[in-house]
């Protein structure tokens, strides 16, 4: 008998923990994530009814999985009979897997198929993010809505539409092999990276960081590491996120204002996450996430800001420019070069980017320029650049910080 709230909490926790794997297992049978989610919900309802009376089974995950799969098989049998009555060729019952046959490896395989399905390139990136957080991360639509500052019906709509798109296109429930595998994996990694980034440097709203989203992304990356240990870029992404996350607590001050890398209290960087990141980096390769992780590791290894190996960072950004060239990467390279070789060298690279249409409206271009001008002893020009940067950001915290820097540069340059 469930008598205490501890026991009912435990039931809820188990249900939540098992949810993604049940969805995955059932999807393999019914080949439709939408129907799988309904069947999983049914099984959960049964569990919440039965368990308080009979006690939680020894292996609640297996119980839920078996219950949901039985329902899935019933559904297919009904469809099969119906189709046969209509004289159509029904799906053979021999194709239906037995619900008992669920060893750990098989569950892992199903979960990985679910990850690839939720991150299918057919879907918009908003849809991929919402579906991945819902089905793999086990977040509620309410939690997703809160994290992305949109309404709950918006998220619910996104998920419903995404499921419909997948069903209509009859997207196979599989881990892709062959030529499109690497593109499909990139899509999965991108979804996790976007979730992390939205938490790490919120593009809008009042909060600069939303650590909960970072943690959800990190959990997804860790799960993926377990599911695809042979993929070096998965380890690269995990390493990158662990290392970035190690600094989350120090990226904002007591009033929520941003704190620059140079000014962060490194004693408060999370050593365990750094160690995990450096460890994951050992299994990383030479793809773009791995290179970014190597850059993050340079910062993590520097006990003081002055110890940062900027020459190495500049080199790594150079490599990143070859792998996935973008003006933002080049801007970062320019900043690293300015630290390694001096502000003049950095300014030349930044100025070469000035006309790039992709950076129009990007606040960190004028901000970097302002910083370089300040260091070159041209505070008035620097101040104007910070003001321009402030006018370009939509995040209120960033705007405040940039205006403060504008005022400071225009006033006098404080010694560092």
């Amino acid at each position: 008998m469930v008598t205490s709230s501890r026991e009912s909490d435990a039931v809820e926790a188990v249900v939540r923990m098992e949810y993604p794997r049940i969805i995955a297992g059932v999807t393999r049978i019914v080949r439709d994530v939408g129907i799988a989610e309904e069947l999983a919900q049914d099984a959960l309802v049964v569990a919440l009814e039965v368990w308080p009376k009979s006690g939680v089974p020894e292996n609640p995950g297996a119980w839920l999985m078996a219950t949901a799969k039985h329902r899935a098989i019933d559904l297919i049998r009904r469809r099969d009979n119906y189709a046969r009555k209509l004289g159509e060729v029904g799906r053979s019952l021999d194709d239906v897997p037995e619900p008992e046959a669920t060893d750990a490896d098989e569950i892992d395989d199903d979960l990985l198929r679910l990850v690839f399905t939720a991150c299918h390139p057919l879907l918009s990136s908003e849809a991929r993010i919402a579906l991945t957080l819902r089905l793999v991360g086990g977040l509620t639509t309410e939690e997703i809505a809160r994290a992305f500052l949109v309404s709950e019906p918006t998220v619910a709509q996104r998920i419903v539409r995404a499921k419909r798109t997948l069903a209509r296109a009859a997207v196979p429930f599989e881990v892709p092999h062959g030529p499109d595998r690497s593109a499909r994996l990139s899509s999965v990694l991108e979804v996790i990276y976007l979730i992390f980034n939205e938490g790490y440097s919120a593009t809008s709203g009042d909060d600069l960081v939303r650590p909960a989203l970072c943690e959800d992304a990190l959990r997804l990356a860790r799960i993926l590491e377990g599911l695809m240990p042979e993929e070096t870029e998965v380890h690269g992404l995990a390493a990158l996120l662990e290392l970035q996350a190690s600094r989350v607590a120090t990226r904002t001050g007591p009033d929520g204002e941003p704190v620059l890398l140079a000014d962060q209290n490194r004693a408060r960087w999370n050593r365990m996450l750094i160690r995990r990141g450096l460890e994951a980096l050992l299994s990383a390769g030479d793809g773009p996430y791995s290179v970014q992780a190597a850059i993050a590791a340079c910062h993590a290894r520097a006990v003081r800001y002055e110890d940062t190996d900027w020459a190495m960072i500049a080199l790594l950004y150079g490599r990143l420019m070859v792998l996935s060239p973008s003006p933002v990467v080049e801007l970062n390279r320019a900043v690293a070069v300015s630290m390694a070789e001096g502000p003049g060298a950095g300014l030349r690279l930044v100025d070469a980017l000035a006309g790039d249409p992709a950076l129009r409206g990007y606040p960190w271009l004028p901000s970097a320029r302002g910083d370089l001008l300040e260091r070159l002893g041209r505070p008035e020009e620097g101040s104007a650049e910070f003001e321009r940067a402030a006018s370009l950001t939509r995040n209120t915290r960033e705007k405040k910080m940039l205006l403060a820097r504008a005022a400071r540069a225009g006033w006098d340059r404080p010694p560092r």
């Binding site: 435990a10 809820e12 926790a13 188990v14 750990a104 990190l218 959990r219 799960i223 377990g226």
Partner: protein
Amino acid sequence: MPRYLSMIRIDEQNAPSVAPSPELQAKMGALFEEITKAGVMLDTAGLTPTSAGTRVTWSGGDLTYTDGPFTETKEVVGGYAIMQCKDKAEALEWTKRFLRCHDDSGAVSAELREIAGS
């Protein structure tokens, strides 16, 4: 997502002197793999006996050292796990599964604590 420290407490003086059975090791290995693959386990390790440990105390301006074994308390920390979970109920569920790996003959307890500011 909060982080939790689960400290495994054992009765060192009455602990079996033999190494854990292969069966226990296999169960534990499978569970640890599951916790890790769930993206939950951040760090875990067992500790060597307290006979190899030393307690250092700063009191009244003096440092004192006490070498193990620490026999004045029945239970000592024998290992730990750091987990990142959605909430305490989830951390308790994993802790429960860990304890259940052990056979029925002995006693082992876990003290679950949330890591501050995590």
